[in-house]
């Protein structure tokens, strides 16, 4: 470290020490005293309720290592991690979305996994999951959710419009959407034919990347140095996006697709596999109307989709790393009588998602679900031809650029060509910077 950095860090640390001295937890590190680990996760609401009994079980069996769950809304999780980190209030365990990997690695937020954990992950998870839980080729934690995108549709609304099956091509999807759409005399949407969910970058960009993958290309080049938006798949996807909202769109951007689908007012949308479990809880009997299908493709041929990964990691600044890894090993590897891990059971019961750990996959319960739940099987099968979500160091900025260009196009601030050109150039420039 250069002298100026030493002086700077010394001064700042002295100032921070003065202000944080009174804030210490008083826990005894790895000295054998009771420690309380904080777990920062986006599992809030119903998901928090489902995760809590698992943590309580660990807490009752391990009085010296207590785990406290801190749930944060997904849209705020990265900001919360970064804010807490800079304020010195580090969470010991973090559930991270692997798109953030490059950025977290740049700031040395995540600790490298112990060799036993790295070996276990390498041997017991599929390649895509291992890749998702690794930074610069080194495993940083346990992969949890590996989620693929697919088409969600409302069977009842499709039937009312005269359709017995979901669309196979993008043109069919638009044509069916126009027939399903219903408005009142003032133009207010009563039933939306097809809509994209909105609210934050990931919600808009991930379906975009899934559609690009269905059209045959990832968003970025394999070396993460260039944007592929100017290719055929990028152009076709942006063109499709431009036909959904805006002046020439088939529906109104003001209609809330997420809420509308749960209320049985949306014909079709794109979503990740985990959404099925949430819809089941939310819609109750009306869930029988929900159908899922592989991502439609531009020409109806075999296509792909995009899959993203979440993983549990330990904070490099945590004083209780050893205890944190003990908890994570229990959560992700300890099997019960049914042959499932606590994490595997949580994923299956809460989201109807097939866990990726081999022992969970081989368990009788998972095999039974694969036989009885078409949705779980569909999204598990989709992983076979899914492209991994790419995570360059500027991953969040890349998503922000694409999101803002799409939103600008949807609100008629720019045309589709300009949105594509701007996003392609700005993403390229951002990747070149890093």
């Amino acid at each position: 470290m250069k002298t100026w950095k030493k002086v700077l860090s010394g001064t700042v640390l002295a100032a921070l020490a003065a202000t944080t001295a009174a804030c210490g937890s008083g826990d005894g590190g790895s000295s054998g005293k009771k420690v309380t680990l904080t777990l920062l996760s986006h599992y809030n609401g119903n998901n928090e309720t489902a995760l809590k009994p698992i943590i309580e079980k660990w807490n009752s069996e391990n009085p010296d290592i207590q785990v406290k769950l801190t749930p944060v809304d997904f849209g705020e999780l990265l900001k919360t991690i970064m804010t807490k980190q800079s304020a010195g209030q580090v969470a010991d365990i973090m559930h991270v979305y692997t798109l953030w990997g490059g950025q977290l690695a740049k700031s040395n937020v995540l600790a490298e996994a112990p060799q036993s954990v790295a070996d276990d992950v390498a041997q017991n998870y599929p390649e895509a999951a291992v890749k998702g839980a690794s930074l610069n080729g080194k495993v940083f934690g346990y992969p949890t959710e590996v989620q693929a995108y697919g088409l969600f549709y409302n069977k009842k609304l499709l039937k009312e419009a005269g359709y017995d099956a979901p669309p196979k091509t993008w043109d069919e999807m638009l044509e069916m959407a126009q027939k399903i759409e219903k408005r009142d005399s003032s133009g207010k949407v009563l039933v939306q034919g097809f809509g994209f969910q909105r609210g934050y970058a990931g919600l808009v960009d991930q379906p975009f990347m899934a559609m690009m993958a269905a059209a045959g290309s990832p968003l970025l080049s394999d070396d993460l140095a260039k944007s592929n938006l100017d290719g055929d798949a990028g152009r076709k996807t942006m063109d499709f996006y431009s036909k959904v909202y805006g002046k020439n769109g088939i529906t109104d951007i003001a209609f809330n697709t997420t809420k509308g689908f749960g209320a049985g007012q949306v014909g079709m949308t794109i979503g990740a596999g985990w959404w099925d479990g949430s819809l089941k809880t939310l819609m109750k009997d009306a869930y029988a109307d929900v159908g899922e299908a592989p991502m439609p493709t531009p020409d109806g041929g075999a296509g792909g989709t995009m899959a993203y990964t979440w993983a549990y990691g330990v904070n490099s600044k945590s004083k209780h790393q050893e205890e944190a890894w003990k908890f994570l090993q229990w959560l992700n590897t300890q099997t019960d009588d049914s042959g499932m891990t606590p994490e595997g059971k949580f994923l299956l019961d809460t989201f109807n998602v097939i866990p990726s750990r081999k022992s969970d996959l081989q368990s009788a319960k998972v095999q039974e679900v694969l036989q009885s739940s078409p949705s779980a099987k569909l999204f598990a099968d989709a992983l076979n031809n899914a492209l991994d979500e790419q995570s360059p160091a500027a991953g969040m900025e890349v998503q922000d650029i694409l999101y803002k260009q799409i939103e600008s196009m949807w609100t008629d601030q720019i045309q589709a060509d300009a949105a594509l050109k701007n996003a392609h150039e700005q993403i390229g420039a951002k990747l070149a910077e890093k």
Binding site: M1, W4, K5, L8, S9, T11, V12, A15, A18, T19, G75, L78, K79, M82, T83, Q85, S86, Q103, K106, S107, N108, V109, S186, G187, K188, V189, G199, Y200, A201, D252, I253, A254, F255, N256, K317, A394, M396, E397, D400, Y403, K404, Q405, E407, S408, W410, T411, D412, Q413, E425, Q426, A429
Partner: protein, 298 residues
Amino acid sequence: MRRFKFKRETLLAYSFLSPVLLFYMIFLMIPVVFSVIISFTDWGGFDFASMKWVGLKNYRSIFSGQSSFLHPILTNTFVFAFGGVAISFVAALVISYLISRMRFEGLWRTMFFMPAVTTVVAIGNVWYYMYNPTNGLINGVITALGFRPVNFLDDPNHALLSITAVSGWMGIGSAVLLLSAGLKGIPHDYYEAAELEGAGQFRQYTRITFPLLKPTILFVLITSFIGGLQSFTLTMVMAKSGGPGNSTNVGALEMYNQAFSFGNWGVASAMAFVLFVVIFIITMAQLLIFRKGGVESY
């Protein structure tokens, strides 16, 4: 001997001041100097070892043609701050004058002050639902009157103005409080004398009330402008990342996202200093204008 005495007194004064000076050193000077330094670096926010000196690169990038910081972000910041202040100031000027002549003045003042003591997040969420195009209260009235619903927050032509209106509404209470206090400080004798001389209400307002209220007006305008230029919570609650596109994005929100979402602390600090210069220039301009109008201090 006299010189020695002066030194002793000075030392004593500084020793009394030292706790405050130490406080300012820790909580003001060090963060400010630290921010200046990191505006010349590439830094993710936590690990000093990863800090890289990049000179003026961050400043060049925010002033480059591809950057959205100057336009639309800084432009939006001005519209938001000026618009919010204009709404709250004009409304507060009228309201404070009217309620100072009404019964139950304290009750009215409390009512207008209520938004100022409510959290911005709560206010932002309430207005977010009121603006909702499908089932919001405002659109309910609009459609009941036979008009088409307005996409207040999804239409870039309306979104910034919709949020600015909420900001202005929120600012009325504190401005009313300050202006009411200013009005109470004007001796009643002046009005009696003016009335005896035949001056009407309007003349009394323009010749007595307004000139004597200028120091308070200056204070209200300066603090409201600074608050408006630094504001980001309301935008974050109502428009998340400043959308659609960048149509409601403001300087402070962009800094927050650069630092905490993207890990670009250097860029965020450079933006903070540009905004500091802007606020400084505007504040100086306000002081100059009021000084020319006869206000020496407030």
